[in-house]
């Protein structure tokens, strides 16, 4: 027995440890980034310090005093330049070594990347300068023996700075995950050996009894064994009002206990909790690919070697046909071309926006499955809303009480409610609840007889009560005194009216309906304003469907759709050539959600719904659909801006670097400017992606 227990403990602690390692690894990742950032900044400062001196001393003839101290081709200048060569080597060794090792590693894999280009550019500049310095006699003209150590040093420094800024900005794009992880409780109070002890949440085991006091965070998922309370579950289920919990009810980790104290048994810990699932889904989505990126992947496979080829072609053309000093021009052009090309901006364009967009969704209770869902969602044309539970609350409530002159509302509702207590019909519960909500105390029925297809006949408080449809009233010859007109009007509004007769006299009507959620109408208007066709699908009859449609402003209603035909109806709309989204609230909608181009599951953060849908809305409001589509449009807009920017940058930058403007305007780009442009372009891409975070729903 004891050994079995120990075995169980070991298994659980392994599971727990995984959670620990995940938590630790995200912390460590942040630490690693910070370390990398600091190291890059040190490299930049060293490069910048040497670079300032190098830049001035490369062109001493531009400065009044230096001009006299270090005239061209003087010995003193030669020594200064030799010193610069050594300093540049130090910069290569300290600030730029990672470019060279990176290039070498890539080369070993027969691939090339940004490191290759920077290493080649700065390396070529250094080697040329050193040869010019040591063996000036091999060059035909004195001008050619100028050195370009400034290019080596300043380019390395600037690219280091660019990388550091990139790293900072990149850290910001993944803040959403950090916030989600931050929802997790840090500690839990569990009962061990009869004592309450505080332990780190990672050490909670399945089966532990956890104690939660008012105002505390519930650490893991579980089931209440003692006590009761109201719990704020908005972060996981989207329910904005606190939910009443009693013994045997489930509680979810990371939700907040409001009023009472209770004990619960842990059922899911570590990576199995609802929150952990949500975090994992967001991480997966952020790591997915947007379909448009396929073009980039094809291009980037050829990009870097192509740039190297362009640089060589540039060198050849300038050397063969260019003006004197040909060698210097050819060298500058080749080095500038290598440095200006930015494969990074191209590669980062979509992942950065995707990470930000998916994170933005998560923080607003919208879980997006991945890049594909995002790209399809922005192109949607038609959106099908399931009626029950999506547009409406999905639960009938008592909406109208009509009384005839001889009775008062209180009496009729008290008696009707009392009778319905004995019924199991879903509409009955609505009447009971309605009566209780109006402060009535309900007595029990003395006899109860359900008349199938008609209603109920019952005796209560010594009176005979009939509750049911028109048929029942006709059968029992109850005069209705014009109540039919009211009933028909209620039915036209999509409500279910039921006649009540007491002691053979018509007492009135109680009407029950599944009411529209507060913000459904507004959300549907927004969807329409966004250019989407909104269609309602319901299993109810056409009259009810149309009534709800009128209330929320939907003209196209597909009524009397059987559950198994939902997917088929989605397909029919797709056959009209449209991109169709389906919004449904649960498992019975799963086939339709899967059939739709984008399936939205609404009002839940549970794994089943997440699995069936492309986009899961934790909150139950249709506003989430509006927001999800807005986010997808904003994100894809951002992706296209980034891609366009990165492509245009390279498409314009490369010819300019190659000197295409020189024959017309005499403009030749300096390698230093190229380095600034290159660093700037990748930082711009990330900054643009971060701009998404400032998105607010309109």
């Amino acid at each position: 027995m004891k050994s079995a227990l120990e075995e169980g403990t070991t298994i659980e602690s392994v599971v727990g440890n995984k959670a620990v390692s995940r938590q630790v690894s995200t912390d460590r990742e942040a630490e690693a980034r910070e370390r990398e950032y600091r190291s890059l900044m040190r490299k930049w400062w060293f490069g910048a310090a040497v670079g300032t001196f190098t830049m001035i001393m490369s062109y001493p003839w531009l400065f009044p005093v230096l001009r006299d101290w270090f005239p061209r081709e003087s010995h003193s200048l030669w020594y200064v330049w030799a010193g610069m060569g050594i300093a540049a080597l130090a910069v290569i060794g300290y600030s730029g070594w990672h470019f060279f090792t990176g290039a070498w590693q890539a080369l070993k894999h027969r691939s090339a990347n940004m490191h290759t280009l920077i290493a080649l550019g700065t390396g070529v500049a250094w080697i040329y300068s050193t040869v010019a310095l040591l063996f000036p006699q091999i060059f035909p003209s004195g001008v050619l023996t100028d050195v370009y150590y400034d290019v080596t040093v300043v380019v390395i420094a600037l690219v280091d700075l660019g990388l550091a800024m990139e790293l900072k900005a990149k850290g910001r794009t993944s803040e959403a995950i950090k916030k989600l992880i931050g929802l997790q409780a840090k500690t839990a109070r569990v009962v061990r050996d009869g004592k309450e002890i505080d332990i780190p949440v990672e050490e909670v085991l399945v089966g532990d009894i956890v104690v939660v006091r008012p105002g505390e965070k519930i650490p893991v998922d579980g089931e209440i064994v003692e006590g009761s309370s109201a719990v704020d579950e908005s972060m996981v289920t989207g329910e904005s009002l606190p939910v009443e919990k009693k013994v045997a009810d489930e509680v979810i980790g990371a939700t907040i206990n409001k009023t009472g104290a209770f004990k619960f048994r842990a059922t899911k810990v570590g990576k199995d909790t609802a929150l952990a699932n949500i975090i994992r889904m967001v991480q997966d989505a952020q790591g997915s690919k947007v379909p448009v990126q396929r073009i980039v992947d094809v291009v980037s496979g050829y990009f870097t070697p192509s740039v190297a080829i362009l640089a060589i072609v540039g060198f050849m053309v300038w050397y063969t046909f260019g003006p004197e000093p040909r060698l210097a021009f050819a060298l500058i052009v080749a080095v500038t071309t290598l440095i200006i090309a930015c494969p990074c901006a191209l590669g980062m364009a979509t992942p950065m926006s995707l990470t930000t967009g998916v994170g933005l969704g998560a923080l607003n209770g919208i879980l997006i499955r991945g890049g594909e869902a995002l790209q399809t969602a922005q192109a949607l044309e038609t959106i099908i809303l399931d009626k029950t539970g999506t547009i409406t609350h999905g639960k009938p409530v008592l909406t109208d009480v009509v009384v005839s002159r001889e009775f008062d509302e209180g009496t009729m509702l008290r008696l009707a409610g009392g009778v319905e207590k004995s019924s199991e019909h879903p509409l009955a519960a609505a009447i009971v609840e309605g009566a209780i909500n109006r402060g009535l105390t309900l007595s029990d029925a003395e006899s109860f007889n359900a008349v199938p297809g008609h209603g109920i006949e019952s005796r209560i408080e010594g009176r005979v009560l009939l509750l049911g449809n028109l048929k029942l009233m006709h059968d029992r010859k109850i005069p209705l005194d014009g109540l039919e007109v009211t009933a028909a009007k209620l039915a036209d509004d999509g409500k279910t009216p039921m006649y009540v007769a007491i002691d053979g006299k018509p007492a009135g009507i109680v009407a029950v309906a599944d009411t529209v959620k507060d913000d459904s109408r507004q959300a549907i208007q927004s969807l329409k304003a966004m250019g989407l066709e909104v269609v309602m699908m319901t299993g109810d009859n056409e009259r009810t469907g149309k009534a709800i449609g009128r209330q929320v402003g939907i003209e196209r209603v597909l009524a009397e759709v059987l559950p198994q035909d939902k997917a088929f109806n989605v397909q029919k709309l797709q056959l009209e050539g449209k991109k169709v989204a389906m919004v449904g609230d649960g498992i019975n909608d799963a086939p339709a959600l899967a059939q739709a181009d984008v399936g939205f599951a609404i009002g839940t953060g549970t794994d089943v719904a997440i699995a069936a849908s492309d986009i899961t809305l934790i909150k139950g409001s249709l506003r989430g659909v509006v927001m999800a589509i807005q986010i997808s449009r904003a994100t894809m807009g951002n992706v296209y801006q980034n891609l366009f920017g990165a492509f245009i940058y390279n498409v314009l930058g490369l010819p300019v670097a190659l000197g295409i403007l020189y024959p017309f305007f005499g403009i030749l780009l300096s390698p230093l400017l190229a380095a600034v442009a290159m660093s700037f372009s990748s930082v711009t891409v990330i900054a643009n992606a971060n701009r998404l975070k400032r998105w607010r729903t309109s």
Partner: protein, 125 residues
């Protein structure tokens, strides 16, 4: 055209030819993943300036487990993506991270870092 120009142009063309051959024409032979007793086709993948090995051969219909070990701090490689299998994984430095999936159809599938700088190929036979 003077002799020096001819030399530069010939050297340039030679270099271009070399680049084309080196980066695009040479095909690397893949490493075949080993079938373990657990029924997985396993392969260790080193992440350092690229993926080693970067071409991995597996059989279809059997689960694959690739154990990635990242031995560098460059941010580029902190994630690996298998778009065809809808899989991705974060690779904390120095940790072994297994990526498991089931290749159903034979074919060639790419895996890469998020920016597509590091690339590898999975050949499913």
């Amino acid at each position: 055209m003077t002799w020096d120009k001819i030399v530069v142009d010939i050297a340039g063309l030679g270099l271009i030819g070399f680049i084309v051959w080196f980066f695009w024409l040479v095909k690397t032979k893949g490493v075949k993943a080993v079938l373990t007793s657990a029924g997985y086709q396993e392969q260790m993948v080193l992440v350092k300036g690229g993926y080693t090995p970067d071409v991995i051969v597996v059989e279809h219909g059997k689960p694959v487990r690739l154990n990635f070990v990242r031995q560098e701090s460059v941010v580029c490689s902190e994630m690996v993506l298998f778009p065809a299998f809808n899989k991705s994984a974060r690779l904390p430095e120095g940790e072994t991270v297994p990526v498991e999936f089931m290749p159903k159809e034979p074919g060639e599938y790419e895996f890469a870092c998020q920016m597509g700088m590091f690339k590898g190929k999975l050949i499913v036979e």
